[in-house]
Symmetry: D3
Subunit: 239 residues, 6 copies
């Protein structure tokens, strides 16, 4: 069930707040990747299917600096080859930002390969450089030390934990100023559709509230007049 261009486009226009509410209505309560932040809050939404990397704690004998000489090192082959264009690269760093999950050269390469974004529940090194790249990136906090210090790359594209959320390969990740949410793959289309509708109403409600209207009957739309006004607004706005 690959992410359709139409659904991707929709998800680029809605917020993680709206998406988590749509998920909440379906019984999903822990799909938010907790405590991660955009390195550059000014970027547009990050949207893509999850391609995952799993780290475990580094064992010293297995993680000398020379491991990167091996092109099949899981982190490097993922960056160079395996993570598909359009995907979001999601890293399970066990919420440990004492060492880096990745740095600016690897993130640059992901960007050049057309990857849609990157998120770790740990931290990136060269954070200021990454923030300036066109690719959106999310982490907990900057982390200068090389990943070899604490992270051993085990495998890619398996189900992982990221920021206390479950992430399965192919789940759809959306990131904005509030962080990143994980939409189960089979729900991406319907969540996107519903979120677009919800967003239209929220934009309408926001406009009315900023004009001085009460939230009573407006948010939520318990007053039938709210729905009538909304329909008129949609027509006017072409939404």
């Amino acid at each position: 069930m690959p992410l359709s261009p139409a659904t991707r486009e929709k998800l680029e226009t809605v917020s993680t707040a709206t998406i988590t509410t749509a998920l909440f209505k379906r019984g999903f309560r822990i799909q938010m990747i907790q405590d991660v932040y955009p390195l550059d809050p000014a970027k547009p939404n990050m949207v893509g299917e999850a391609f995952t990397l799993r780290y475990i704690p580094a064992r010293e004998d297995l993680n000398p600096i020379t491991v990167f000489n091996d092109p099949e090192h899981p982190q490097r082959s993922a960056v160079e080859r395996d993570c598909p264009p359009g995907a979001v690269f999601v890293i399970d760093s066990r919420k440990d930002a004492r060492a880096a999950s990745a740095g600016s050269i690897l993130v640059s390469r992901l960007m050049m390969r057309g990857v849609a974004g990157i998120v770790t529940d740990g931290g990136f090194r060269d954070a200021a450089e990454i923030a300036k790249l066109a690719i959106p990136a999310f982490h907990h906090r900057p982390a200068a030390p090389t990943n070899l210090t604490l992270h051993h790359a085990i495998e890619t594209n398996v189900p992982i934990a990221c920021g206390d959320a479950p992430v399965f390969p192919g789940d759809v990740i959306v990131g904005d100023g509030d962080g990143c949410v994980v939409i189960p793959a089979h729900l991406a289309d319907e969540i996107a559709a519903e979120a677009v509708e919800m967003t239209a109403y929220e934009d309408f409600a926001t406009e009315k509230v900023l004009e001085g209207r009460s939230i009573r009957g407006l948010y939520p739309a318990t007053d039938p007049q709210s729905k009538i006004d909304f329909e008129a607004w949609r027509k006017k706005k072409g939404r």
Copy 2:
């Protein structure tokens, strides 16, 4: 003992650092709301009397999405009606930012109603939107999931905990780049007066230090000459 316009005006010109020192001199050590940050650090001071909202952990059967249909839901009636203009809306979220304390539509409504600001020891959803509003807002970190996920609104305008500080309705909240401080209501006038005096001296001392003067005898003013110079400076500056 409502907050007088004169005291409010004074508190708009002094820092939380200065206020906490004035409180420290009176034996108050835990009046700082710990670990909250302004969504927009560029805003002027937030000042107002506390109007409080108390959350407890959400029980699933009591918190379906439909609860907001009830206009008397404590969060909604507080936003729409009960929190007075000029007040600061203070939310006890038990320092839990895994779900939102509120979002941009409610904060917009508070702003339109003339509320002076909002602070939670949890997090706001739509954080980037809220940062752009004219109303100052403080939280621990962004939190996209709806409050229903983890927060059950119990009651308003009772004494609460916020960021490990005690907050009584009517206490005066001041927020700046360092966070938010809680001034016990009965001390607001004297703390404001003292803080204005302290601030004048601190501004003088800062100016002198930036001109190259030693802090010895200047900060604190143990050298009588410092007081003489300060008086001259005040006259010149009209403070």
Copy 3:
């Protein structure tokens, strides 16, 4: 083994990420001061030898506001006299940012005295003011309450803990957007030299990656052609 001007200059041009890798190659894994951030991320690198201040928890009877009347109070004499120009003032605040490690007047005085920077694993008060000063400063988060609330200044220029890293007086501190690293004094020259070389290669690799080149054989330089290209690039760039 004072920090030579040449080494200082080199360290101003390399990142903490690169330095931690050079340290990792020599078996040093915990030299990063964890969880501290620049108050102004736009500043250039902070570089200098560590001059330290050690706090223990404040005992109430020993920390009335009047202690600052004593010019020999360790925090004040350090700021006014003992911390040498060119040094970095490093404070052991036991990772406790509930009260301030210092405020803007003291940091201003350090700046005027030519101190190279300041870092605490706690927090600064007047954080917004300090961010505007020319001196680089790093902390965990803003902290308005006076240091007397929780910190008792014991002594200066002894070995300390800062952000879970060991800091010996004279160690060389480098700070950038990722935080601060502690280079053992006897290694400063060789680390600086190696980091400059590494940085040249990283800049070359970054440029190539942004031109679309694969990281295979390039990063690390396992393909001999990478080294040839790098040498050509260096000549062209004059590095």
Copy 4:
């Protein structure tokens, strides 16, 4: 809907593990008071309806040692008069065990008044003494300092948070070696009934497993033979 003697008796024979599973089947996921432990693990189950005490952070001027001279101090009147016999006294200490929630004299008085147990998400002082009393008590860890240091008693018998669980007055608390669970009042009878049934089966399954039987088909009872054997076992055991 007071707790019936029959339901109380049932809950004295089932575990918090079994109860949380029965709650999970009904969609309740956060009814466990997290991170609290029995002071005496050898005691039988604690069962009773919640009577609550709410603390907020202590303000120094409101919490001198003399406040206990007032018999209407909320903690004291609750212990002496308001908490009913048979109830469990549940304290919201904001998960802060740096100061005590109560000590052995108050817990002794609760015991003498017939209160069924006590739980705080903070800590008790005189913990070793309390452990020796006949009344079951649960806390996070011992905490010697008087509650006045950090806890200000605000009110009793309101909904509270305790260990990240919601507790409404009248909810039924059950405590055992795994900690304490909160059963919503209206579900107490059906949860108790179901838990007794589940416990019978679990005891049967445990016996069989300890005799060497496979868990396949037995736990859960997907093999019809398991149910047949269970019925025979029940008859034999008179359960």
Copy 5:
């Protein structure tokens, strides 16, 4: 490289403290599973090769109570069939003890199947029951709620994190009153041999210290006489 009976026997007689020192000498610093405790501290050492189970956060739609009807559910098939006799069952619960990693029936079955022990960096439900079983078990703290609440079983016998230590299938786990240590499989024989030697000396040194001897020259054995006395002691003790 399966664990030989001789090495197992040796490891049953040495402490995790001694083993971690032997590992430290070889450059291994993070092989201790942090913050786990024996449910019954009176049991002898737990020793066995790691068989692992990996949990990720539970997604609600994938974790109804009915999943256990599937005999191939990874947790159940591991317990019933896959975890070999003599092994230690090691669970990656992401240090999250808010829900159980397993309960007494499954642990009983592991015991009956000859498994050597079990450790999770989360918690067990029915902790008091498990403590009474003959099989050693280690966890962070009791956790009543069913694993389905927060843990989704993904796969078995892959490398995992447990308590911030890396665990590869086949690594040798040793547990005692201080917790559990992970010995890389290829080092088990030499670590066991060295630890037995170290233990003999430590027992000798302890005996001498308790007789009143100074640790100078004795611990470590920098005085040649200590080695002479030790050799005599070994002969006498037959070690």
Copy 6:
């Protein structure tokens, strides 16, 4: 101001709870060493003057296993020679129990030298062995890895932090089931005297409460009859 035998004797009969209340009355709020526990809760009170050891994070090049060959290593010389008989050995481990503060051989030597007890805000290795020794010991949790892994011993008998409390050499440490409290040296006599009086009254009140008496007027003794009864009780008990 050495600890007099009379004061030591008094402190052996009073609880840390009572002492913290006596300190609270004098304005001391953070003298409790937070989150430390007796390894053997059955031991009598630990009492003695603080002799301190300060650790900072270990730097790998300074902490090979061979450092213990130097008899002047601060930890070793403190244990062997410097910590006086009758003192309590207090270790600043920065609340980090990932590596040991000390092990059973060193604690045995302290015991043989007549040291009164030991406390660390980290952890001990060989915890089960230490628990069996006659010397009382307090820590946060067991910690097998050698101290060299994370702790570098810097100096002895300087003011330190321990469990968020300030500890000055010569301060009087008292430990019981609730943990350890630090009495400023100059207050030891008066606190001991007051605590003995308080304890007499608390014992009286406990006895009365266990006989069924109300706490009203009894605890605290606001009813004059309570004081009359207490005097009679003291005479009868010879206290």
